[in-house]
């Protein structure tokens, strides 16, 4: 039997909503695939779009950004900045030939453990369908 492709996904999560939501998924023992690796930042507003590009360069097959629901940002408006940046970045990535399914953004609140599980499952499934990502890989980056 052919071995199933297991994508490697880097997720950037804000401390107050999505990271706490991911913690809640754990406390509630919700099961999801181990392909997603989490980087905690205080706010999605901190995430420089280049971090996402860098994750692809390092070899990630998918990238996920998740923060507080619009209007619920711990820092008032950080997620609005993120929403603008990443809507634009997504289009740019698609323009450069990156499969749309590789980059996703979601809103997961501190009480949405179940939603986090679904977000992970979907992201993994989509990245799996898109297959291994090689175009952006660089052995060394000089950034």
């Amino acid at each position: 039997m052919e071995e199933r492709f297991e994508p490697n996904i880097v997720a950037f999560l804000c401390n107050w909503c999505s990271y706490a939501g991911a913690d809640l998924a754990g406390t509630s023992r919700m099961q999801y695939p181990p392909n997603v690796h989490i980087v905690r930042v205080m706010c999605t507003g901190r995430i420089n779009p280049l971090f996402v590009v860098n994750a692809f360069q390092q070899g990630a097959d998918g990238v996920l950004v998740s923060g507080c629901h619009p209007g619920e940002c711990h820092y008032r408006e950080g997620n609005y900045h993120a929403r603008r940046r990443f809507t634009l970045l997504r289009e740019l990535l698609v323009f450069t030939g990156v499969d749309r399914r590789r980059f996703n953004m979601s809103w997961v609140s501190a009480s949405e453990g179940a939603k986090w599980r679904e977000v992970v499952r979907e992201a993994v499934e989509m990245a799996r369908e898109a297959g291994p990502f090689e175009q952006f890989r660089r052995e060394m980056i000089g950034w």
Binding site: Y19, G26, R29, Y32, F51, F56, C68
Partner: protein, 669 residues
């Protein structure tokens, strides 16, 4: 080159919580081979005293200067381990936690997958730890005052406790009187204390307390600042009555042209009042308020030849020129005690709440039973000649509770007991009444609750298990259609009155509070506590605490207990007198900053400004470290990378990405 990095990695088993799914020995062996890692150990409980002792010992003996703890979420034990570092003489910010419990062992069943992920998580943490810098927190003084939002029993109790400890309290209530839901109740379960009799002395105490400033008929407008130093704007709505002159005699209400014509919201529309009113006789403050939506003079510009209230008020307290007043307050802590709403039973149309006058809610019955209520305590249906005393009475429980179709999945906690109480009171008020209670389950957990429920059943109240499907009219009576699920018998129960035990839900305007205070809400809409077990009165925002039913449905004893806990938490902050503010704030590299000012625009706290740098002879950004909350928005916005967030510098994040993004198992860092 600075001091050589010597990292220690400590992998926790958390009993079997981690060790059952993650091969901790493998992770430890793997970690020991990572660059800059001097030592790696695993231990059953890292957070225990011996576990922490292990870290302290290694810091001293092996000269470790960076620590990685692979255990639970940093949201749980980061502070614990930071203290461990501090005790061993290491800067607490030289710690990095690898979350291998909540985000690994607990969510992955497959041991090899979970172990591989744990390896990578630890490798990323070690890579990041190497770059962490020692940081210092700043200390600022704390404003010795507390803002309490909501003047129900939670807010009142909290205000009294804080003021009693010697600090100033601003008690803000949106209604003309404090008292909240408890003031509307007739008696309280299970002791049957008269609610007003035990509440009103507290209300008076709160109003009379020299350190409590009561801001009734007021609402929160804006909040800024941070724990220890909040700035708050409160709008005191115009009452059109001069509080200093009003004696509360009530002549104005008697003479008002609309006397007896305005539905009283305090009595849920069952009673009527004037356009100038006091919600209930024991109201605190006792002075009157003009309802600006109803008053003829305020809405139409004239009220006969002259408003009678003005004519009869001998102290001359009526003042139609009064305007809203906005006050600015400085407080160190905020307690949110905004209470809850009651479920609107018209959302369950099968119960006919809108269609039949003798289908009422439990709170309406509460007002009918109250001696100061619209019927002065007698339970009558209809008015005038149609007035009758109900003989057959049915209670329906869980209306708007435990009901997914109605959008409220939670148990409202108080309905079982208030139903028992109301059934008992009805039995007293209406001798010979036949009372049945339709229920799903009876939950009577609380001191003396089961005993009270037992007593009520012995008094003759019949409990029938079943959730009614419909209520319809037959002649002058109502029929409750239900299946007795214990006897498996369909019933059509003919009654004179139906009482709906409506559930509690989050306030309709809770979203406004969430926006202003940056709180979170749980799935049921109530405000979210910082931790359900260990921080039930704290919120994710330092210096803001929760009390009462705004956090979850609660009865009075639990509400009072939580109010006292919130007061104690606020007092802890205030009595310390000083607070440490975040060290993980933003910082500018003045040499490379070109002073474009984009960071100034993006900062939500006004913490960044442009200033002329003498050293570099050009304008650069400058961060006010006290105002900065450490979100990092400016760092992401900076074109030249000159603006960075401490502990979340680009290189910190990229060091993690380098490990986590790589296809390998994290071994090639």
């Amino acid at each position: 080159m600075g001091i050589k990095t010597k990292t220690g990695v400590y992998v926790c088993h958390c009993g079997s919580n981690i060790a059952a799914t993650v091969d901790v020995e493998d992770v430890t062996t793997f970690a020991a081979r990572l660059p800059h890692v001097k030592t790696a150990r695993h231990y059953p409980y890292m957070c225990s005293d011996p576990g922490q002792g292990l870290i302290r010992q290694d810091i001293r003996d092996k000269g470790l200067n960076r620590i990685v703890v692979a255990a639970c979420s940093p949201r749980i034990h980061e502070n614990t381990f930071r203290r461990t570092l501090e005790e061993a003489g290491l800067n607490p910010y030289c710690l990095e936690m690898a979350n291998i419990r909540e985000q690994c062992s607990w969510v992955h069943g497959d041991r090899s997958g979970a172990t591989a992920k744990a390896r990578k998580t630890v490798a990323a943490a070690a890579a990041r730890a190497r770059l962490l810098e020692p940081l210092q927190q700043k200390e600022v003084p704390v404003e010795p005052a507390v803002l309490v939002l909501g003047g129900g029993i939670a807010g009142i109790q909290c205000a009294l406790d804080v003021a009693g400890a010697g600090f100033t309290v601003y008690l803000v209530e949106k209604e003309p009187s404090i008292g909240g839901r408890m003031a509307q109740l007739d008696k309280t379960f299970p002791t049957l204390d008269c609610s007003a009799c035990i509440l009103t002395p507290r209300m008076v105490d709160a109003a009379a307390h020299p350190r409590i400033e009561l801001l009734s008929y007021s609402c929160l407008e804006e909040v800024s600042g941070y724990a220890g130093n909040f700035s708050v704007r409160v709008r005191k709505k115009a009452r059109y009555v001069d509080a200093d002159r009003c004696t509360g005699c009530g002549d104005c209400a008697r003479e008002c042209r609309l006397a007896g014509r305005v539905p009283s919201s305090f009595d849920l529309g069952l009673g009527r009042r004037s356009a100038i009113y006091r919600p209930f006789p024991q109201a605190v403050p006792a002075h009157y308020t003009i309802d600006r939506q109803r008053c003829l003079f305020l809405t139409k510009g004239r009220c006969g030849d002259a408003p009678p209230c003005v004519q009869v008020c001998s102290p001359g307290a009526i003042d139609f020129e009064q305007r809203d007043e906005v006050v600015e307050l400085k407080v160190g802590a905020i307690v949110v005690a905004t209470g809850c709403d009651l479920f609107d039973p018209s959302r369950k149309p099968e119960y006919g709440y809108r269609d039949y006058n003798n289908v009422i809610t439990a709170m309406e019955l509460e007002r009918l039973l109250s001696a100061s209520g619209p019927t002065e305590g007698s339970v009558v249906l209809g008015e005038g000649e149609d007035a009758s005393v109900p003989r057959d009475i049915a209670f329906i429980k869980c209306v708007g509770s435990r009901d997914k179709s109605a959008g409220s999945e939670h148990c409202s906690k108080v309905c079982c007991m208030y139903t028992a109480k109301l059934a008992h009171l009805l039995g007293e008020k209406v001798p010979g009444a036949s009372i049945r209670v339709y229920y799903m389950d009876v939950r009577a957990s609380g001191k003396g609750y089961e005993e009270f429920y037992d007593r009520v059943r012995r008094e003759g109240v019949r409990y029938i298990r079943g959730s009614p499907s419909e209520i319809f009219q037959r002649g002058s009576r109502l029929v409750v259609k239900v299946e007795d699920t214990l006897a498996s018998t369909p019933l059509e129960d003919e009654v004179d009155m139906v009482v709906l035990a409506v559930g509690l839900e989050a306030r309709g305007d809770a979203g406004r509070i969430v926006d202003m205070l940056r709180l979170s809400r749980s799935a049921d809409g109530f405000f979210l506590e910082a931790h359900p077990k260990l921080a039930p009165v704290d919120t994710a925002v330092d210096g803001i605490y929760l009390a009462g039913a705004c956090q979850a449905p609660k009865d009075i004893p639990d509400t009072v207990a939580q109010a006292k806990a919130a007061a104690a938490s606020a007092l802890g902050l205030l009595s310390a007198g000083r607070i440490k503010v975040g060290a993980e704030v933003c910082v500018v590299n003045e040499e490379t900053c070109r002073g474009c000012g984009y960071c100034v625009q993006i900062c939500p706290y006004g913490a960044v400004e442009l200033a002329f740098s003498e050293r570099y002879s050009h304008e650069t950004a400058l961060v006010n470290e006290v105002l900065c909350k450490g979100c990092g928005a400016c760092a992401a916005a900076c074109f030249s990378g000159s603006m960075q967030q401490r502990s979340f510098r680009d290189e910190h994040i990229l060091s993690q990405v380098a490990v986590l993004g790589s296809k390998g198992k994290g071994d090639q860092v």
